[in-house]
């Protein structure tokens, strides 16, 4: 490897330790730092309406959830069709506090970081529970087990009066060092909270994958018998993968509850679970940055299709009801196209761009 990093045309590791670095070059680190600064600074520079901040917050929450799904499905190779239910577990944990203690209880309003972590832990608990069949089940059978959990979750929420039978449960306003976070600052405030969570969890996954626990996930995905022979416990690893995914989903659910200031059943349906899977596939299964690309792409596509159908509806007869068909059609088409032409997702495009800039101007 060239001593001058600017002249380097690739990464040439001479030890395992070098390969464990979070950033391979100084340039990588500098670009990432600048990107982070940009993410933290832009709302302070540009005046953004609540509508857009709300959209951005939604994308960030989806990123947290998809990071969890990527751990279980992308890295550990265990399909989960009930991810929205785990997100719901997190949201309903916050809602349960509000139902029992009241929306203005100090735990909900002042100790909200603790509540978010608790929601993550509850999500992890349920994740481990749902992961138990993974001791015995694989592939389609495991997928059906997670689907069952989704169904059970929906049934419980829909029927129990404690959960308001699926209708919205209100969540109280939180306090910060500056006092109560009012309505005008609500989305702005939560943008920073969620961004911090995304960064912390992103680094968490990045570091986890460097440890033996992270590598165990990938080993079990690639060949669980070989992993077993190497001294790993495939069953426990799978349960732990589900628990980790549950933790991420639980945190995402709690953030959802606080941002929406309410928890309603319709945000955690099977349809949403499929949406998370689509985000993971489009972003790139088994890649950390895919967890970022997927939600951004799908949410952005959603908005664009919405606008397209709105403008199309002005010119087409009402009977055609184009918008009803356009969203699911586009959504399905995008997934099929990605599965056919780019199964490694947008993350692969990012890899190609990076590799191109590293090799440029040499082709090989």
């Amino acid at each position: 490897m060239s001593q001058n990093q600017w002249l380097a045309t690739g990464n040439f590791f001479t030890s395992y330790k070098e390969e464990q670095h979070t950033f391979f070059t100084h340039l990588d680190r500098t670009i990432f730092t600048l990107f982070l600064v940009l993410l933290f600074a832009w709302p302070l520079v540009f005046e953004v309406g609540n509508k857009y901040m709300f959209v951005v917050n939604n994308v960030l929450i989806a990123i947290v959830a998809v990071m969890g799904l990527n751990l279980v499905t992308g890295f550990a190779g265990l399909i989960s069709i009930g991810h929205a239910a785990f997100v719901g577990i997190g949201a309903y944990t916050v809602a349960s506090f509000c139902r029992t203690l009241g929306t203005a209880h100090v735990l909900v309003t002042h100790f909200w970081p603790l509540v978010i972590i608790l929601a993550g832990l509850v999500g992890a608990g349920f994740g481990a529970l749902v992961g138990l069949p993974a001791f015995r089940l694989k592939h389609l059978y495991l997928a059906i087990a997670t689907l069952s959990f989704q169904m059970i979750f929906q049934w419980v929420i829909n029927f129990m009066t404690f959960f308001n039978q699926g209708q919205t449960i209100s969540i109280g306003r939180v306090f910060w060092f500056t006092g109560k976070v009012g309505r005008r600052d609500h989305y702005f405030f939560w943008y920073y909270v969620i961004l911090v969570v995304v960064v912390l969890m992103g680094f968490g996954i990045r570091n986890l994958l460097k440890t033996k626990y992270g590598r165990a996930l990938v080993a079990v995905r690639d060949n669980d018998r070989a992993a077993d022979a190497m001294g790993m416990h495939p069953g426990l690893t799978k349960v732990y993968a589900f628990a980790l995914a549950g933790f991420f989903a639980g945190v995402a659910g709690a953030l959802h509850a606080y941002v929406y200031r309410g928890v309603g059943f319709e945000s955690f349906t099977l349809h949403e679970s499929i949406g998370y899977l689509a985000m993971a596939i489009v972003g790139g299964l088994g890649t950390l940055n895919g967890s970022f690309w997927g939600p951004v792409a799908i949410k952005f596509l959603d908005l664009q299709v919405e606008q397209l159908s709105e403008s199309a509806a002005q010119y087409l007869p009402a009977g055609m009801n184009l918008a009803t068909a356009l969203k699911p059609f586009t959504f399905g088409l995008v997934i099929v196209l990605f599965l056919m032409f780019e199964p490694r997702g947008i993350a692969n495009w990012w890899r190609i761009v990076k590799s191109y800039t590293k090799l440029w101007p040499f082709r090989y």
Partner: protein, 406 residues
């Protein structure tokens, strides 16, 4: 001289330009978010057309003088997160009044309406909208009022002992809410037996359920759901020959339903099986040949709506939903108040006594006060007669008043 003329002309142009701006009138921004497409769009689509047409009518006919209403209508496909996004956009745009659609989103945004102090008229008539809420104004009798009114009608017109009733409801809070109120009415003295509460699924055959109800001696089935499950059930009843030919016929079932279980769509779905079906609704139907329905049809014709939309009671619901803020604006202007959310809220709370609003879309007057945020209290009872819904009675639920007073 030439220069002086030019200066004078320029000055005159400037003067008239400013004068024109001063008298151009104001634009009041409103917003509506509803399911124009997607689930429940069968109701949301004609409803949004009613809203659109009424505001066009207001502007075209200068009902507010030089002032105009600019109502942005957005499709949320029945998704609360989209509704929330639309509402935030409207707030950024500076709306003075908001129109919402579904029960889920109304409950989800209830706290936002309170904090923003934004007067809101939803298309949802869920009784729960009124709990811990001061800014939501329901246009017509709630779902609970519809169902309890039907129960009262059954008790009043039943011959013999205590009527045995089954409730056929939607498997959601929308369906269950009125059941609780009906049970409370029974506990408060309404003389009937609720034999069974059936939460329907997506079954295409209700034979077993109907036979079970018959075996339990049920004579009346009160529905609170949407049209298609009711249509399936009454078609099965006709096939099994258990449908009553007249109200309360012994040994047969009389079917009755609240707001969303009826209308022209039910007849289209159920055909002959809809005959003798009873239905409550606070809207005037175009099958009633009266001055009110003629106005509705004329409005639809003016803006090129097809027959289906023009004759839909959901189109009437949209008209009324748009008429309520219009009336509040008229009242605020008449009182010399600035048209803003605070004053419109004040006007709505004063919409009673001599200031009640009579709409051609509804069967009774819209009245609100600080303690009463339900607009039209009357429901009409319609019955299908030779393939058409005909009004047979008007009723105001006494028991709901008692329950609310508690």
């Amino acid at each position: 001289m030439k220069k002086t003329t030019r200066v004078l002309t320029a000055a005159l142009i400037m003067f008239f330009a400013f004068a024109a701006t001063a008298t151009a009138g104001q634009v009041y921004k409103l917003g509506f978010s509803g399911a124009i497409t997607g689930p429940t769009s069968d109701a949301g689509n004609p409803l949004s057309k009613g809203i659109e047409d009424w505001f066009k009518y207001v502007n075209d006919n200068k009902l507010l003088g030089d002032d105009k209403i600019e109502c942005t209508i957005r499709d949320d496909q029945y998704k609360t997160d989209v509704t929330k996004r639309n509402f935030e956009e409207y707030l950024d745009d500076g709306i003075v009044f908001y129109l919402n659609y579904s029960t889920g989103s109304t409950l989800g945004l209830k706290m936002d309406f309170e904090e923003e102090q934004m007067p809101t008229v939803p298309s949802s008539y869920h009784e729960g909208n009124l709990v811990d809420s001061t800014y939501i104004f329901i246009p017509v009798a709630t779902y609970s009022e519809n169902m309890v009114a039907l129960a009262e009608y059954v008790v009043k017109n039943h011959k013999g002992g205590k009527p045995k009733v089954a409730l056929f409801i939607h498997p959601s809070a929308f369906g269950r809410g009125p059941v609780e109120d009906t049970k409370k009415a029974v506990a408060a003295g309404l003389n009937m037996d609720i034999v069974e509460v059936v939460e329907h699924g997506k079954d295409l055959d209700n034979s077993a359920m109907l036979k079970r109800l018959m075996s339990k001696g049920v004579q009346y089935v009160i529905c609170h759901t949407v049209q298609s499950p009711v249509a399936t059930m009454i078609k099965d009843a006709m096939r099994l020959n258990v449908t009553a030919k007249s109200f309360g016929e012994p040994g047969k079932l009389t079917f009755l339903g609240a707001h969303y279980t009826g209308g022209a769509d039910l007849i289209a779905l159920a055909g002959d099986a809809a005959e003798n079906y009873y239905w409550t609704c606070s809207y005037n139907l175009t099958t009633e040949d009266n001055e009110k329905s003629q106005k509705q049809l004329k409005l639809a014709k003016t803006y090129g709506r097809d027959d289906k939309a023009a004759n839909s009671h959901n189109y009437a619901a949209g008209i009324l939903q748009a008429q309520i803020p219009t009336q509040a604006i008229i009242m605020a202007k008449a009182a010399g108040l600035e048209v803003n959310p605070a004053n419109l809220y004040k006007m709505l709370n004063q919409m009673n006594g001599a200031k009640v609003f009579n709409s051609f879309a509804a069967v009774g007057p819209v009245s609100y006060s600080a303690n009463d945020h339900v607009g039209v209290d009357v429901v009409n009872i319609y019955k299908v007669d030779k393939g058409v819904f005909k009004a047979i009675s008007s009723i105001e639920s006494e028991y709901m008043k008692k329950l609310r007073a508690k």
